[in-house]
């Protein structure tokens, strides 16, 4: 037991092979590892043997919450999963994914800081948690069901509609690398293919009912005034301050703003950032992201438990095809799931209808297919059909070509139904696919990179040859790195983004960086002043309109890159929402719009009673960054993480017999020297890596974490482990 507030104190272990459950105390890990991802990484390090495949029973799936989850702290309603990722490419390295909604807080209120799944159940099961009572329940009758009906049935089985579930659909059951775990009608544990991991363990899902509470060291009664101050500083998601209708902010409440999908349209109007009672009304993603495609169906906003912003769009479709629910919650990526625009001879001949957009989103969530991955699937399909002047299609084996041609391509062409039929067909073929078959649908389930490798397209996708991924216009989808499609990458967000796309094992998803650089609503000069206040140099951030510029690895750029890594780990440990934290900007002109980067530590200290400075808390999070690095070195079986010219991360993955080095890499098309205007300068990225490695205390040449650094932040056992594996040359750490 502990006097700390915040943590529940227990971690639930579920041995699916033996069908046995037990609990262990959280205190062996915290406060040092903070929570959620910090604990998950430690568990993977200690309990997953080197060489384990992501879909092997020996892999471990951890789903955890942090000390702030379910407390009165704002925007702390998320859970984080850690496991080896089957979506990792070319190596199934460690990954993380988070999910919000109502499930994470329910888990905390049930009395758990996390759940560890190991082994593989002989038959499908669901983990049922009612406060301290946890058991495995047979799920044979649920296997094959979509995620929405599964959750409904679980609530009915428990006789409690307050129960919250996180489940997989048919895609996860097929152990697909694109499999997500879904909660509610739009919250997804999406990235990294953890739905496939759950499927490999015969785990249909988790349903939990928690009636307990979170003890906080500081009662809310004595923190209310300060909490309001913090909410004012947060202002709105990503620190947006402007109500200007011309602002690029995605939180641009304005005079003509309203929700048009309600029975009677609801006028929202302009909302000043200091009006705390209306910040949750500001955002309208279905307006902002989709250029109004979904605007007529936007019913209202919603948020995860504890949110003060409400970034989700609740949409109600009309006249949807049979079997597709009209109501759904969604955010940016989900709205883009089925979006396309087809252009021929400079004329738009087909444009995604709102029916196609909502159908694709709903089918992604119902089948449990990660919407983010679907975008890259879709472009592989289109490229396969039309790309390289038809040669990709022509060289396909006949049975694959027939399958490709059988898709309703007319749906996305002139005179078609603006994509509805096509989206439904692509999901249906994957829903019913035999996972081990040599079929297009089965390969798509393996994720775009592996599918592209099978279709002899991967090298072109890697290098940018033949204009791949330009079959659809409107959204350009490109390969980023590590099996993930580009998203807020270095082409617009400069060196910090280039470094993170190189070193992170998945889409690094640094929303806070984009919030500062793009979405804050400030003028460029104001943003630079904020950067100067936080990092000592206005040049820490780069103008995203000035594309394909990395620049010199200045101290400020590297400090920003380090901050992004550390605070990403921190928000996934506490757990907080990265659309809100860190608080780079605030609406206060007296502070020159600079936010408060100590809010995480302040909230952590108040909730847990573990008084700590922001710098000290950052170091705890940095230890997790180092551990993430160490596990990745183990997964890649290399001390040479740098990558760069001469390394090829395309081709076949190690699960297909490949052998790779050079983790820290970007797709080659980023460096295409023949492009006009010029693309990224490879030498600048390499110089940036060196500076970043040095700042992190890693090997400046090969980029691996060192014994000195691991020891300095209290992880000598990790250094010992790497040494045993031959991945840490202790002599190198002295250089």
């Amino acid at each position: 037991m502990s006097d700390f507030g915040g943590w529940a104190g227990k971690i639930l272990w579920v041995d699916l092979t033996a069908g046995k459950l037990h609990t262990e105390e959280t205190w062996q890990w915290v406060p040092e590892r903070i929570g959620a991802i910090g604990i998950g990484l430690a568990l993977v390090w200690h309990h997953v043997p080197p060489g384990t495949g992501a879909l092997d029973p020996a892999n471990l799936l951890f789903i955890g919450v942090g000390p702030l989850t379910g407390s009165w702290a704002p925007c702390a309603g998320r859970a984080v999963a850690v496991s080896l990722s089957p979506a990792g490419y070319p190596v199934e390295h460690v990954g993380q994914s988070s999910v919000g909604g109502q499930f994470p807080t329910e888990l905390k209120w049930a009395g758990y800081d996390g759940i560890v799944f190991v082994g593989r159940s002989p038959t499908p099961v669901v983990l049922v948690i009612r406060d301290s009572q946890a058991e495995l329940m047979d799920a044979t009758d649920l296997w094959g069901r979509d995620t929405f009906s599964t959750q409904q049935l679980l609530q009915e089985k428990l006789g409690d509609r307050r129960a919250k579930a996180l489940v997989i659909g048919p895609v996860g059951e097929k152990q697909a690398r694109t499999g997500a775990m879904i909660h509610g009608t739009g919250h997804a544990l999406g990235q990294c293919g953890f739905g496939g991991v759950a499927g490999s363990k015969n785990l249909k899902g988790i349903v939990v009912r928690g009636t307990g509470k979170v003890r906080t060291a500081t009662p809310l009664a004595s923190f209310r005034g300060r909490l309001d101050d913090i909410r004012r500083s947060l202002a709105v998601m990503q620190s947006v301050i402007s109500a200007d209708k011309d602002s690029r902010s995605r939180w641009r409440a304005r005079d003509d703003f309203g929700w048009h999908g309600a029975d009677e349209p609801i006028p929202i109007g302009a909302i000043p950032p200091d009006d705390l009672s209306r910040q949750g009304l500001r955002h309208c993603g279905s307006d902002f992201y989709m250029g109004g495609v979904l605007r007529p169906w936007h019913v209202k906003n919603s948020g995860c438990v504890g949110c003060v912003m409400n970034c989700f769009s609740t949409v109600r479709g009309r006249d949807m095809p049979k079997g597709i629910p009209e109501h759904g919650e969604m955010n940016c990526v989900q709205m883009q799931t089925g979006y396309f625009r087809r252009v021929r001879d400079d004329k738009v001949v087909s444009n995604a209808s709102r029916w196609a957009v909502l159908a694709a989103k709903q089918l992604a969530d119902m089948t449990g297919l990660n919407a983010y991955d679907f975008r890259m699937q879709l472009n592989v399909l289109v490229q396969l059909r039309f790309g390289n002047e038809g040669s990709y299609r022509e060289q396909l084996d006949a049975h694959l070509r027939d399958e490709l041609d059988a898709l309703p391509w007319e749906s996305i062409d002139e005179g078609g139904d603006n994509g509805l039929g096509f989206m439904m067909a692509v999901f249906e073929t994957q829903r019913v696919a035999e996972p081990d078959a040599d079929s297009i649908a089965a390969w798509l389930l393996q994720g775009a990179p592996r599918a592209a490798a099978r279709f002899a397209m991967l090298d072109d996708i890697w290098t940018g040859a033949h204009g791949q991924f330009e079959g659809f216009e409107g959204f350009r989808v490109s390969y980023g790195a590590h099996g993930q499609r580009a998203h807020y990458g270095p082409e617009r967000y400069g060196l910090p983004a280039g470094l993170h796309w190189s070193i992170w094992n998945r889409d690094p998803n640094r929303h806070e960086h984009n919030g500062l650089v793009s979405w804050s609503g400030l003028s460029w000069e104001q943003k630079q002043r904020v950067a100067e206040i936080h990092f000592g140099d206005p040049g820490a951030i780069d103008d995203p309109s000035d594309s394909y510029q990395l620049g010199e690895p200045t101290a400020a750029r590297i400090e920003l890159a380090r901050m992004l890594a550390v605070r990403s780990m921190l928000k996934d440990s506490l757990t907080l929402c990265d659309w809100v934290f860190p608080n780079y900007c605030c609406p206060d002109p007296k502070k020159e719009y600079a936010g408060n980067l100590e809010l995480e530590a302040e909230l952590y200290s108040a909730v847990t009673g573990d008084e700590i400075s922001a710098d000290a808390l950052d170091l705890r999070a940095e230890a997790s960054v180092d551990l993430y690095r160490a596990i990745t070195m183990r997964d890649w079986n290399t001390a040479d993480m740098r990558g760069g010219p001469g390394y090829q991360s395309g081709g076949r993955g190690h699960d297909q017999g490949g052998d790779y080095k050079g983790h820290d890499n970007l797709a080659e098309w980023y460096f295409d020297t023949s492009a006009d205007p010029p693309r990224l300068n490879r030498a600048e990225l390499e110089a940036g890596k060196t500076a970043f490695y040095e700042r992190m205390g890693w090997d400046p040449v090969r980029g691996g974490v060192t014994r000195d650094k691991l020891t300095a932040l209290g992880q000598p056992e990790v250094a010992d482990g790497l040494t045993e594996l031959g991945l840490l040359d202790d002599d190198d750490s002295a250089r």
Binding site: W109, R224, H327
Partner: protein, 219 residues
């Protein structure tokens, strides 16, 4: 059937109640909106399902202040209270509140507020005007010293609002005595909750959803 207004209580008819409940704007109290003239009213928290984003900040705040720790099962307001009516989507969620039901007497028997009518020991009460804690809000409250924890109020309540906690029932008392004003309302980022202090005569000009207020002919 006969109806009459007990001394000191607001007049409400069942017709008023049905009109308000069916308006789509799930009022926490009947009779506020229309049809009852300008008679005396009482304090109440209104919720608008069309604005509620199910973030549960109201519930977290309520439980943190009144039940010694955030955990929505202890909250007296919030989406949790609404699950029995919920469809499987967030569009129908709203932060259910105590409706501070009107006084309705049928056949000389008080039938509403249901909690007051169902309580066998007189613990569920309507605070009189000038109450030392609740002021003039006419709060429907439960006297914890009298409550025997029988649960009749929970069963009788049309929205199953009261909670049984440590052998006694608790219900929303608007936080008037403890926090001065309802903190759940202050915590809502979507103005889906609004507190109406007691008023006489004129209807307040500000409503959480102006459109709805317009439809109801209130502003």
């Amino acid at each position: 059937m006969s109806r009459h207004q007990p001394h000191g209580s607001p007049c409400l008819t069942r017709r008023c109640f049905v009109q308000a409940a069916g308006s789509g704007f799930l009022l926490a109290v009947a009779g506020v909106t229309t049809g009852c003239g300008d008679q005396e009213q009482w304090g109440v928290i209104l919720s608008d399902p069309r604005l509620c984003g199910a973030c549960s900040r109201c519930a977290i705040t309520c439980a943190a202040l009144n039940a010694d720790g955030p955990g929505v099962a202890q909250a007296l307001v919030g989406p949790e209270q609404h699950y029995q009516e919920r469809q499987f989507d967030n569009a129908n969620w709203y932060a259910a509140t105590c409706r501070m039901c009107p006084v309705i007497v049928e056949d000389e028997q008080q039938v509403s507020p249901a909690c007051v009518a169902a309580c066998p020991v007189g613990a569920a009460q309507i605070a009189p005007e000038g109450h030392p804690i609740f002021g003039d809000e006419r709060v429907r409250f439960i006297d914890q010293d009298r409550c025997i924890g029988c649960g009749n109020c929970v069963t009788a309540c049309p929205v199953s609002h009261p909670l049984l906690d440590d052998g006694v029932a608790r219900k929303c008392e608007l936080c008037i005595g403890r926090w001065g004003a309802p903190p759940c309302v202050e915590a809502c980022p979507s103005r889906a909750l609004l507190y109406f202090p007691v008023w006489r005569g004129d209807i307040p000009a500000v409503f959480p959803c102006q459109l709805e207020a317009l439809q109801a002919g209130l502003v």
